[in-house]
Symmetry: C2
Subunit: 388 residues, 2 copies
Amino acid sequence: MRVQPLHKGSNAERSRHRNRQAVLGQVHAAGAIGRAEIARALSLTTQTVSNIIAELSQDGMLLEKGRRSVGRGLPAMQYALNPEGGYALGIEVRPDAIFSALLNLQGQAVATERVPLNTNEPDHVLAHVAVVYARHLKQVPTAQNRMLGAGVVMPGPFGKTGIAVAGSDLTGWQEVDAEQLFSETINLPVMLSNDANAAAMAERITGAAQDVMSFAYLYFGAGLGLGLVHEGHLVRGAFGNAGEIGHIPIPGKDHKLEDALSRLSVQRHLHSVGKEARDIDALELLYHQGDPDLFRWLDAAGTALGHAMTIIENIFDPQTILLGGAMPAAILDHLVAHTPMPDISVSNRPGSHHPRLMQGTSGRMTATMGAAALILNRALNSSISHSL
Amino acid sequence: MRVQPLHKGSNAERSRHRNRQAVLGQVHAAGAIGRAEIARALSLTTQTVSNIIAELSQDGMLLEKGRRSVGRGLPAMQYALNPEGGYALGIEVRPDAIFSALLNLQGQAVATERVPLNTNEPDHVLAHVAVVYARHLKQVPTAQNRMLGAGVVMPGPFGKTGIAVAGSDLTGWQEVDAEQLFSETINLPVMLSNDANAAAMAERITGAAQDVMSFAYLYFGAGLGLGLVHEGHLVRGAFGNAGEIGHIPIPGKDHKLEDALSRLSVQRHLHSVGKEARDIDALELLYHQGDPDLFRWLDAAGTALGHAMTIIENIFDPQTILLGGAMPAAILDHLVAHTPMPDISVSNRPGSHHPRLMQGTSGRMTATMGAAALILNRALNSSISHSL
DNA sequence: GGATTAGCTCAATTCATTTGAATTATCAAT
DNA sequence: ATTGATAATTCAAATGAATTGAGCTAATCC
């Protein structure tokens, strides 16, 4: 068996590529920044950064934002990302629909769409994706020649495993190389991921975790997912299935974590008392009405969330845990505010800079935009050389 | 707040440094390998690799191992790591003793020592470490000018947390910068880590996980630790305390995982029935005698191990989980052979290349040698530029 | 025994960075 | 208001390390 090298060798051109990315990353992180400051941060000379910035401006990736005087000396010309300098497509394939979002370089959605599906077999899905993508490009003509790639979110786990997500699985996707298929269909580099990982990346690019290097993201999707970001990079696991936290057994009456902590769980609980909450809005309404059954569920969910936190904190020691996904913001708020912090945890430390539990982005499109964020992150943060 | 860049910029010299490391890494992974093959693996030209190999041979890091004919063409000159080309010091500080090991570039221990401690306060420990290090250098004079660095293992968790390891904590270490202190004392670059992470690195450098990029290592130390290696790199967590798995609550009569699965646990269990097993050898003896009390513990431990596996596999999705540390090999063997694999897991996949649970290195020095392996790994595998 | 294949080296070239000097714009002190 | 210090930036030359292309060597294949 051939042992694959961790990292390829470096040469002048690969250095330039890496430095371009690093410069973009600095600009993204700072919002607006001058050449000399970037040079200091990257341990490069101003001359080098100057050359790279000239190149990036030429390519339309950067915009001049005027000079900013901060003390003595020549005020530095500030540069910012040109939002129209690059675009990333985000595709989320669900059993019954495709969600799609086109993000610009600053992570803003410039086009979104939802396409219902009759069948979710590969050919059918791919055809719809091609059509949606074409529609986005027509809507945003600037994106035509500036596509960085596409992120695709599909329900995990990938490959054959002991977990069968009854009913929610896609048919006919087990045996195919989805990344390859999408890449051929839309003629872009594709990154495949599960919903939680993608959502975590969205938080890192534009959301609550922009300056957080290591964090965990508990994501309410169909079940309960976990996105792990360690030192700025996704922890995907050897087979891309890291973060299937919902299936972990917990002490208590419910068998698995997601039996107590998921959208399905709350819907089942409400159903058992004769109430229905078809979607996020319905749940939000019940919450604002102070529905006692919903609050009973929230109590149990909080306990489960405490267990999840103990596990995540002790195994992964993140700076913070974010809570987000397809839940009403009010419910996420409530959980963040009312979940008792576990004592027995390496994260139970005095004087911590970040709260241990924070609210992330809420809503239906979180994972879709996260899919695109996977690509943006690669363009702005990647230390791994692109496959060229 | 200044956002620290993920990666510094690159230039010709940093490229060379990186390429040198990459070449060393290839040689280490292959055992013996020719220039052209390295060049292919790293996407460099043979000329470049040739230059680097000449440099590394000059520096005494590589040895020629004769030509190997594999087919047509000029047989390639094989190169291997010169074991005497570099050394790493491993220090393990325990409450009552210091363990120390000097490893050569191939990961073999060329000197080991155990120094009992009266007190484990910083000054005292540092003085002993300096003495032991000097003794090693006298024993292995070649190492004098070829020290790559020192790895130090101390009982975690680091910093103030909600976990207090009653009695096993070191006194006076909470407020000091241990890495800094060790580095000043022995005048070497120092990497600080907990036992499980270090042991995991040892498995990757010389042990059962040499060609495994992502794995988890369950380590029997004082309690139960977890070392995580993801894509060849340790996952240390934001504050260096990742892997404190022992404190996770599990379903069942025991509160925490390490109440059922640790050396302390088996000793307590045996004590409760009037038996004593002071050390590893005593445990091994009981095992070979078929002691029914020990086997009762093993059954419970296996159940707990199953829980641990479910958590690790579903959160981290590793290629395999290794079991090692300060336990008799026979007991590790037994656990590996008799633990039922959890069904509900992303790792429960047909046709997997690695077994889901494997036996790692057993014995008292595992973590100590792992400490040194942290340094070797940096020299052979690191993608992160050394602080120069 | 000649053709083919593969490993390796020499010398020249190329790429991207660094170095050092010069220029410009601002602040601060006289 | 003038002068000096400071900082950002650019220009041109030098440097470091990789690539390119030609040539040599030692195996196997036919």
